[in-house]
């Protein structure tokens, strides 16, 4: 195994593209190192991207924020601007691991590790976040929802990696929230989860919504029916019941050591409902 530290995006792309064997980008390493130590992967080349200029910056852009691929959860959480605009994305990211893990873990790493249970991804999908991907053919922007291809797999091509994640601008009266279910209170993996982003108009009617579920399908699931249940409503019980029912119906989970199909379907709806209530409270300020 070779270990390289890339000095620029172009150099990282060159290294990753040139290696014929297995490669791993190293951001925080909180997945990569665990996988290396347990013998789950034996990469031929590991490329550290943390030293590349701009990789650890958060920049305001077009009313939203561009978050460098090596920004840690702790740094994201300290950014008042991102916190105010996308509190749900920040709370998803901050749920990851412990204080130690927060000092390293990144949004892009969480996304590219491609676990269906990744905690920052449902909120990013609900936020309609966009990943900027660099590769041998230059840069392209890809909606976050299109990056994971299934457990442990991404749609990134050989030599490609994410350089930043863009969280867009949003109208006044908007907010988001993320909730996960774990059997313990921390240091655990989501049995199912829900991210809800919504906008509430002056008269209290929900004018826009996106609802995404985690750990109930091979990739994070966007649930348009659930969003439709909220849009046009005043988030009354009937609308929230319809949202929960749509989420339970859309969830396509499996039975495994962490939970049953019945449990995940039901609790996905419960969490979406609770997240919607929290997001609405935040939106109303």
């Amino acid at each position: 195994m070779r270990f390289e530290v890339a000095a620029s995006v172009a150099e990282a792309v060159r290294m990753l593209a040139a290696e014929p064997g297995t490669t791993r980008v190293l951001a925080g390493g909180t997945d990569v190192l665990v996988q290396l130590r347990s013998g789950l992967v034996e990469p031929d080349l590991v490329v550290d991207i943390k030293r590349i200029d701009g990789m650890r910056e958060i920049r305001a852009e077009d009313g939203g924020f561009r978050i460098g691929a090596a920004v840690s959860g702790a740094e994201l959480g300290e950014d008042a601007g991102v916190r105010a605009l996308w509190p749900g994305v920040v709370e998803g990211m901050e749920l990851i691991g412990s204080t130690q893990v927060q000092g390293r873990a990144t949004l892009a790493g969480n996304l590219c590790n491609a676990s269906p249970a990744a905690d920052s991804v449902p909120a990013m999908v609900a936020a309609d976040a966009v990943a900027r991907v660099a590769g041998p053919a230059g840069e392209r922007d890809v909606p976050v929802a299109q990056i994971p291809a299934g457990p442990g797999k991404t749609t990134l091509a050989k030599g490609e990696f994410i350089v930043s994640i863009f969280l867009p601008a949003r109208p006044a009266g908007s907010a988001d929230a993320y909730l996960r279910f774990i059997p313990r209170t921390e240091m655990d993996i989501a049995v199912c989860s829900a991210g809800v982003s919504l906008t509430i108009g002056g008269d209290g009617t929900c004018t826009a919504a996106r609802v995404a579920l985690g750990a109930v399908a091979p990739t994070v699931l966007l649930v348009p029916d659930a969003a439709a249940a909220l849009i046009g409503s005043k988030l009354d019980d009937a609308a929230l019941d319809a949202l929960a029912a749509a989420c339970s119906a859309a969830a396509k989970p499996i039975d495994d050591k962490r939970g049953t199909v019945a449990f995940r379907k039901k609790v996905a709806g419960v969490l979406a409902r609770r997240a919607a209530v929290i997001a609405a409270e935040r939106a109303r300020g």
Binding site: G39, F181, P183, R184, T185, E186, M187, D188, I189, V191, D256, K257, R258, G259, T260, A262, F263, K266, V267, V270
Partner: protein, 755 residues
Amino acid sequence: MALDKQTTAKREFKVVGTRPLRPDGVDKVTGKALYGADLTAPGMLVGKILRSPHPHARIRSIDTSAAEAAPGVKAVITHADFTLPDDEDMRDILVNCMAFNKALYDGHAVAAVAAISEAAAKAALKLIKVDYEVLPHVTDVDEAMKPDAPVIERGRQAETVGEGFSENVTSYCEFGHGDIEAGFTRADHVIERSFKTEATHQGYIEPHACLATFTTDGKADLWCCTQGQYMVRRVCSAIMDMEASQLRVTPSEIGGGFGGKTTVFIEPVALMLAKKSGRPVKIVMSRSDVLRASGPTCSSSMDVRIGMTKDGRITAGHAKLRYQGGAFPCGTVEMGAMAAFAAYDLEAVRTQGWNAMTNRPKQAAYRAPGAPMAIYAVESVVDELCQHLGLDPLDVRLKNAAKAGTKASYGVTFTDIGLSACLAAAKAHPHYAAPLGPGQGRGVSCGFWFNFGGDTCVTLNVNMDGTVSVTEGNPDIGGSRASIGMMAAEELGVPFDKVRTQVVDTASLGYNEVTDGSRVTFAVGLATIKAAQAAKAEMCRRAAMIWGIDAEAVTWEDGCAKPSGPNAGDFPPMTLAEIAAVSSQTGGPIAGHHEVNADGAGVSFGVHLVDVEVDPETGATKVLRYTVFQDAGKAVHPDYVEGQMQGGAVQGIGWALNEEYIYGEDGRLQNAGFLDYRVPVASDLPMIDTVILEIPNPGHPYGVRGVGETSIVPPLAAIANAVSRAAGVRLTELPMSPPRILAALDAARPKAAAE
């Protein structure tokens, strides 16, 4: 052993009962303490073990030639390197450490290598070719008992088992007295329920680790993390076919054991690799190895039937217990059957127990082995009867509580015990009167453990500078060096900081049983007190010699020899330090010894009170408040007594709510890591409050009872009772994980709506 009745009567203590800093604390918090994996030796090799991926498979052949030829590999071993000992227990331990003709569970060791590096050892493991014939497997206890179940090993069934069972059922036991059917007839209400509990692991943070060396003239040294160096020596010398004196075992500091380190898993493998390679070999288990291949506790399936009168008197109790303890015969169910009804004074009681073999790792002791599950089942039914009859659960337990003179269901007649005192303390505690909110429930349970004494050997040396060295042979898991040093200081009348207690290797002291059965503070403490008494007698003799009076005319008081009787006041008292300073002129070094097979351990009872809140939409349980009441006889170092009470409660909370061995259809363990084997984390828990009761044990000079195990017994039922009351539906399976609680709630909902 004679009971020291006279000394238990309201003695005033100076050191015992205080809370000095633990002597091993600085080493541990600064990282200097040496644990199992911390020792290295010149030329040391890394040992690694190849484990079976199959739960049950015949081993047709093992080809190690490619591994032997690999770079850096110094030795490869399989079962062919060992000879099966004649003794059945030793044979089972060896076969568990290294599979012979069959792999018996997922993770069973089949071969091992020693190589110059971790990487070389790992690479060599991949080159070993094992030809397996995969066999049908069984991991569930009820399935394993059926006549047509795949049989783990033939010829292990005891005659007492009777007809109609699989050969996997190895033993049957029965306890009790009185006519239970007549008792059930007298009851106003009878409830019978079936329960299941999953296997749980002791969850110690330190994985098993050892370093073995073997010299060409047949002497061996072993450094390892264990609860008992003498046990390791006995087992390993039997397996390696060597004399005990030729193997020296030194225990490291220990990062938790809870019973799981009262046997061996890797030590014979390291010794054989060291013998074959001629080099020191270190083996450190990974967490996944620990979960797959060291010993968890038994899983169980149980039926309990109890009858009660309207006013809360239990008229009869009957428990049928079925435990599995892995791929070998296991006697743990017997302790469950003995403990099940121990808290109650009953006219008619019967307990029956069966053990079955399954394709799971060989169980190892886990705090009060066998008792938590049986008592969980009994205490759940008692609680349901209280609910049904509208009775207060503490009143009912007080009404039926075992006391001095009660003939226990397992045959003994109790002497002074602290159960009623614990129950009364719980009843009077503000926790029991605190209001509960919606969705919340309160649970109560009694717990019991036998406690143990056993073979013990202590040497106490009085040093010439007036300090004292206590030498003992039991690894310190819960602060025992402090407690033992305190008892020595108390008896000698010197300050605690003048005493240092060391745990030594097998060559330095006579046989000591393992640190188990809550025995150390009791038995080693007792031997230390007796050793101190012997040293005191010797110091009185020395003082008498100096004064020129009869030894009988000298007494020991407040750390000094004093002339007494007709000579009282003739000479100024001599302190321990003064006597020690001139010991060379009065006959040489001063020491006290005591060797004993200690009985009189004194049974232990506790009562737990817990409040929980259940989220009706997710089945998640939050533990809101928890109070432990336990009889310690005499709390030598109250911090460590409280620590044992809290630790047991926390492990019980894990067992009740989330911890479990999860096997797939393929018989493989699916959660061999601390991510999915969920021990409670700090944020899951409230502060565990403790109330220590002190009902002196007549079998110990200071009244001490062991406190290490009882505390894990009540939490299972206390939490199950609280959850069942909070959720409005009786839970009968552990762990009560959120999916299980939600399923029970959902199953009850339409019924409740229809009623």
